[in-house]
């Protein structure tokens, strides 16, 4: 009986010690997650997420402090990719339809401030001429809206066309 207790204690101490040593000397350094996340982000540094640039957002995401739905230009697909990378679940509200900027030509004064700010050069127009937004290049970061003095630039949801309409997911109240 004493022998059994003695042996078990010894075993416990021995194995615990081994585990401690392994934790110390066999530790695996985790990769800098925030580098990988930075690659996934658009790199526009528009600041809509509230963090200092995409670098700041990547750090916050890596630390688990930010939600994966933080980036409007990235939209739902980016949220899903980030969720997959971080191993978290994407919650239902992924923001809604993408927003794109467009110029209200009636109020554009041609000041050309917007074109300088656009990170993808999506705004065309010469000084004193009415400007326009190339929809395919616009990513909806909103930087142009911030600097427009007449507020002729607005972010509007993209209209669904027959080509972009899709069937919604059936909402059943239980598991399939």
């Amino acid at each position: 009986m004493i022998a059994a207790v003695f042996i078990m204690t010894l075993l416990g101490l021995g194995m615990g010690g081994l585990l401690g040593l392994a934790a110390r000397y066999l530790r695996v350094e985790s990769n800098p997650l925030h580098e990988e996340i930075l690659q996934l982000l658009p790199g526009v540094n528009c600041g809509q997420c509230g963090y200092p640039g995409c670098g700041g957002a990547a750090e916050a995401l890596a630390a688990g402090k930010a939600a994966v739905t933080l980036c409007p230009p990235g939209g739902p697909p980016l949220a899903q990719t980030l969720a997959a990378k971080l191993g978290v679940a994407v919650d239902g509200a992924t923001g809604g339809p993408p927003l794109l900027a467009s110029v209200d030509e009636a109020t554009c004064i041609g000041c050309a401030h917007c074109g300088k700010r656009c990170p993808t050069d999506a705004i065309i127009g010469a000084p004193k001429q009415i400007h326009g937004v190339i929809q395919d290049a616009c990513i909806g970061c909103g930087l142009c809206v911030d600097v427009c003095p007449t507020e002729c630039l607005q972010l509007r949801p993209v209209a669904t066309t027959l080509k972009t309409w899709h069937w919604p997911k059936p909402m059943l109240s239980f598991g399939v």
Binding site: W167, P170, M171, L172, F174, G175
Partner: protein, 367 residues
């Protein structure tokens, strides 16, 4: 509720889940009725208690989960679980066996996994296994048939007393099933020829034998199962694979040593084999979805049943075999998949073989 615009298809096959359950209940009803008549009022009481326990447990779990009661209670699945469980219990078992079994079947066998369609194990068989392991005495108290309204049968009030208060004179009542007898007497080094001296397969087939309500009339169960096959409620793959596996194993071993290994007719006509083959192993939720998978599943069940009956610790192996194969079902489903049209077995795009293309081009002109 959900879908506007409503998606295609706008037509549906007439089968629905409640209808399928109703058909299965209809198919098992003759055997159930026969079992009740054979064993009298206590059997009926046990059936009622088990069914009630299942329904109450289902209602309680649904309420806890915040799910609506009506659609799930009325789809007939809890009722069917209760019926199948009651059919596998000793007919004169005390009421609490039925109650505990029914509750366990629904709560742990089904609702804990997420409700209908999500369970891993067949709820009735899981409950039976639990009862057998926990209450071996009550679960092995078999008796010879005492048909309703015959001289030996208890009257209605006596029946109530038996179910709710216990059997008054156990030793005078109890008898062994064929399988039970085989097991004990082989253990006592008797030979099968002697053990089965008075065994009449015809009688066993019709159902004049001891056992649970579900293991008496193999004939009625077989007829019910065939009717289900004809109505396309179940497929033939599981029952046939199961029965053929038992047939092959018992037949070959019986040829090798007829004194120690019972022949196929004994195996096929005793115990819950028929019930298991047509009503229990065919439970869609816990069996594989592909045809080949179902054949593997059925064969596995049959093999395990035979192995447990012959070499295992219990005389009857249907419940254990089914529960074990249920555990293998996800594995079977993972590996056994149909080949996709236009793809190879590995999933790559399958080019049209030049030879077949040429053959098709050349054929068909002379017509």
């Amino acid at each position: 509720m959900t879908l506007f615009p409503t998606s295609a298809p706008h037509a549906h096959a007439p089968d629905s889940v409640p209808r399928l359950m109703a058909l299965v209940l209809a198919a098992v009803a003759p055997a159930l009725l026969y079992g009740v008549i054979l064993f009298g009022w206590p059997a009926l009481n046990l059936l009622m208690v088990t069914i009630l326990a299942c329904l109450l447990a289902e209602a309680a779990c649904l309420r806890l989960a915040g799910q609506p009661l009506r659609p799930f209670l009325s789809d007939g699945s809890a009722l069917l679980t209760g019926v199948l469980l009651a059919m596998s219990l000793p007919p004169w078992a005390p009421w609490w066996i039925g109650a505990v079994g029914g509750t366990f079947a629904i709560v742990v066998g089904k609702q804990v996994f997420g409700g209908i369609g999500q369970n891993l194990f067949n709820p009735a068989m899981l409950a039976r296994v639990m009862l057998l392991v926990s209450f071996p005495v009550e679960m092995t108290l078999w008796l010879e048939p005492r048909p309703l309204f015959s001289s030996q049968a208890p009257g209605f009030l006596e029946g109530l007393a038996i179910t709710f208060a216990g059997i008054p004179n156990i030793d005078a009542v109890s008898g062994a099933t064929v399988l039970g007898r085989i097991r004990t007497e082989l253990g006592l080094s008797r030979e099968l020829g002697q053990i089965l001296g008075h065994y009449q397969p015809g009688l066993a087939g019709i159902g004049w034998s001891g056992g649970s309500a579900g293991e008496t009339s193999e004939l009625l169960i077989l007829l019910g199962g065939l009717w289900l096959l004809w109505r396309r409620v179940i497929g033939w793959h599981i029952p046939v694979a199961l029965l053929v596996a038992v047939l092959i194993l018992s037949g070959s071993l019986h040829l090798v040593d007829p004194r120690r290994f019972a022949g196929p007719e004994v195996h096929l006509l005793s115990g819950g084999l028929m019930l298991g083959a047509f009503f229990i192993a065919t439970d869609p939720v816990t069996s594989p979805t592909t045809k080949l998978g179902q054949i593997l599943f059925g064969a596995g069940c049959g093999a395990l049943i035979y192995v447990i009956r012959t070499w295992g610790g219990y005389p009857e192996g249907v419940a254990f075999a089914v529960v074990l194969m249920n555990a293998a079902t996800p594995l079977i489903d993972h590996y056994v998949r149909p080949r996709i049209y236009g793809r190879t077995w590995r999933g790559q795009s399958r080019p049209v073989p030049e030879r077949s293309k040429r053959r098709t081009a050349e054929s068909g002109d002379a017509e």
